[in-house]
């Protein structure tokens, strides 16, 4: 009996070559996400326990939080999940060009979310004087949201690696080129969420654009060069690529991780931010 894969039929949800009928990569990711649920469960409950019994000298969350910015970040993360789902949908139809666009969109939204978090943390420390060690609230808050932010940053890196992989040519070595492509991506994403997005948020908050440009001139220049390099890599790439419908499971696996950071944020947004306003 010939397998569905041998007939040219790719069943993206079921793999008849494994004993469970589920592709091993997908099974691995689901098992990892199940364990990560417990990890975040412990962090969220630690935060809530100390919020129920606040020790003396704790920061007042409603005086610290900026709920408008957090709501915006939540919306951005939800929309990034949409783009991720569309990227999986596109590669399942073998549409590599559309997959690249959707992956870049997801990365872009991920960088906006991370930039919002960098801006938020900077203001909490500089203006609200809430550090990791001067109150229990600060310790549990930064640990929880910082761990989530690290997950998002890892997700952005994984998406970037997947994006670069979509350019791998069918024939010929391309290791050096792919490495430089990934380096350009990492530089552009790093500058975006460490300098560009927080800088734009500062401008929205009242700082002048020229002050922001002069303050972060060097990193912004580096980011612009990295973006130009990304465009160059995309335009000069070999049109015959190895990546295609057969890689749908790889994109789907990264997508599972990305959606997971979204559902964790759904819980954090309600439990850590919204409930404080009651």
């Amino acid at each position: 009996m010939s397998s569905p894969a041998a007939n040219g039929h790719l069943d993206h949800h079921h793999d008849h070559t494994t004993s469970t009928g589920i592709p091993n990569k997908k099974l691995l990711w689901w098992a990892f996400l199940a364990s990560d649920c417990m990890f975040f469960g412990a962090l969220i409950s630690s935060h809530l326990v100390y919020r129920l019994n606040p020790p003396p000298g704790n920061a007042v969350p409603t005086q610290v939080f900026n709920i408008e910015l957090t709501s915006f970040s939540t919306f951005i993360l939800l929309m990034s999940s949409l783009l991720m789902a569309l990227a999986v949908n596109a590669i399942q139809k073998g549409n590599v060009k559309s997959t690249r666009t959707m992956l870049l969109g997801t990365i872009f939204f991920g960088c906006i979310f991370l930039g919002g978090q960098v801006f938020e943390f900077t203001h909490f420390v500089a203006d609200k004087h809430m550090t990791l060690s001067n109150s229990i609230f600060g310790s549990t808050f930064y640990t929880l949201t910082g761990t989530h932010g690290t997950h998002v940053a890892i997700g952005v890196l994984l998406l970037g690696m997947m994006y670069v992989r979509t350019f791998k040519p069918t024939h010929g070595g391309s290791l050096g080129r792919n490495f430089l492509h990934l380096l350009a991506f990492a530089a552009a994403a790093g500058v975006a969420f460490l300098f560009f997005v927080p800088g734009l948020l500062e401008v929205i908050e009242g700082e002048s654009l020229s002050a922001m440009l002069s303050h972060d001139a060097k990193p912004l220049l580096l980011g612009a060069i990295a973006c130009a390099a990304l465009v160059w890599f995309a335009r000069t790439s070999n049109p015959a690529v190895e990546f295609g419908e057969k890689n749908a499971i790889d994109v789907e696996a990264i997508g599972l991780y990305w959606h997971f950071v979204d559902i964790v944020w759904i819980i954090i947004f309600t439990a850590v931010y919204l409930l404080e306003y009651l």
């Binding site: 949800h13 199940a34 649920c37 975040f40 969220i44 019994n53 939800l78 999940s81 997508g255 009651l278």
Partner: protein, 121 residues
């Protein structure tokens, strides 16, 4: 979206497009988020707001895992595997919250702490 590549068309089998379906799900999630933010500012009794927020978050959570993460179309084993972790995490959270809600778990006031230090040496 641009047309699929030739090798993909040659494969002869494609998932039915869920493009519009995903857009609809995302719009529902965005609207629920908007409702959540507005809800905390409305003059409604606290328990009702808390219950509604938990309910709305659960709905968002389920929408993402069943539709965006494809659990709706995957083998049921994936759902069982993920829910093992989720249920364990929920029980851990519930247990910790119950445990630390007791009077003995409440932090001492500054005066009581001083008294305890003096008494116990």
């Amino acid at each position: 979206m641009s047309a699929p590549t030739a090798p993909a068309l040659a494969a002869g089998h494609h998932e039915p497009s869920k493009f519009h379906f995903y857009i609809q799900i995302a719009m529902i999630l965005a609207v629920i988020t908007g409702i959540e933010v507005v809800l905390v500012y409305l003059p409604i009794v606290k328990w009702l707001v808390v219950t509604t927020l938990i309910l709305l978050s659960t709905v968002k959570f389920m929408f993402v895992i069943f539709f965006f993460m494809h659990l709706r179309w995957d083998k049921v084993f994936c759902t069982i595997l993920f829910f093992i972790g989720l249920v364990l995490a929920s029980f851990t959270m519930f247990s910790l919250m119950k445990l630390f809600a007791s009077d003995a778990a409440k932090p001492l006031t500054a005066a009581a702490l001083d008294f305890a230090r003096t008494t116990l040496g």
